[in-house]
């Protein structure tokens, strides 16, 4: 079938139209993939060494995320925040009063995404957590800062904070080295030689 000048003009205009709108779609595809993609939190703790972080933690363990669910909504109207709870099974207890094969609920902010997303069923984590003393939190645990949770993939610990010395140090260690370091540190913590870091302002 022979195509006339009107058809060719139509094709040219369609190409021009696509050229204009495609970048917008590409930008949209790149940037609007989720509500939780933007957010950032301040911290009360920051650690220079592994022993210091262990001493400040209530529990340290290797675990597997077995469930991720919407958590509580808190705050007055207009100031509400939403939580995302990750239920984590303890595969290996490394520090603190914690039973292996226990499940812990870790409370996180739904709209503040970690540098490496770990709140997915099946994710393996190395976690340094504190337990909330608040009755309404029902024993939930929480992260002290961005340094306190590491995604473990195929036995490799991935860095949690790009450019942070402690995060890089932990990421360079094998699981066995972490296990040994914590075991070596624990007697000094229990003896009060290494003490927990006080939170900012205390």
């Amino acid at each position: 079938m022979k195509r006339g000048p009107n058809h060719r003009r139509g094709v040219r205009e369609m190409r021009r139209y696509l050229a204009l709108i495609l970048p917008v779609f590409l930008l949209g595809a790149c940037e609007s993939s989720g509500l939780s993609s933007q957010g950032s939190a301040a911290a009360e703790f920051w650690f220079e060494t592994l022993p210091q972080m262990v001493a400040t933690s209530d529990v340290v363990f290797l675990g597997t995320v077995v469930e991720v669910r919407d958590g509580t909504t808190e705050g007055p109207p207009g100031e509400e925040i939403e939580h995302l709870d990750a239920v984590v099974r303890v595969d290996e207890a490394l520090f603190g009063l914690i039973d292996e094969s226990a499940t812990l609920t870790v409370q996180t902010l739904k709209f503040v995404e970690p540098e490496r997303e770990w709140r997915e069923v099946g994710a393996t984590v190395l976690a340094f957590l504190k337990q909330s003393p608040d009755r309404e939190d029902e024993g939930r645990y929480y992260l002290m800062n961005d340094q306190s949770l590491y995604l473990v993939v195929d036995g490799d610990i991935l860095g949690a904070v790009e450019g942070d010395r402690l995060s890089d140090e932990i990421a360079s260690m094998s699981i066995e080295e972490v296990r040994e370091a914590i075991a070596t540190t624990t007697p000094s913590i229990e003896a009060g030689v290494i003490t927990p870091q006080p939170p900012v302002g205390s």
Partner: protein, 167 residues
Amino acid sequence: MIPLIAFGLVISSTPAWGNNWIRKTGGDSAIQFDLCDLNAGFHDAWHDNNGHDISPTNINPSHVHSCNTVEVRMNDFAYGSADPIGWWECHSVNILGQCVNGHVHINLSKTGSLSTGAKLSLTCQEIGHSVGLDHPTSGTSCMIQIVSANRQHLIQHDIDVINAHYS
């Protein structure tokens, strides 16, 4: 060709923004905010904080050229021990990836014992987040993740980055 060039610009811009601690991408107006609302919210956020009425005098607002339609609010509430001391969250983004609605939350459950200087550090950091700054891992900026009375200000680098993207 034009789409490919545009897409290439988006991709190539990412490392530079990362070096500048900017988390957001999507153009010069990646995050906009209404300075009028921000000022009001800033005072509201600290209304019950022993009369400390912290004005945003430590934030250089020269990067804000006008009020606009994008909303940033600061909320303060005793959210509990299991939440951070303060944080910024963006609730919705437009198709270009620009944040169009976000809240700064100050957790009064954890701010009671902070010195005035530490409170300034915290609010400085959260407002910095609301305009797109991320946490550096060293230096003297209030954007360092741990709050400190010794870091109450944005450093010139932060201000330059913001100015560059809000001009």
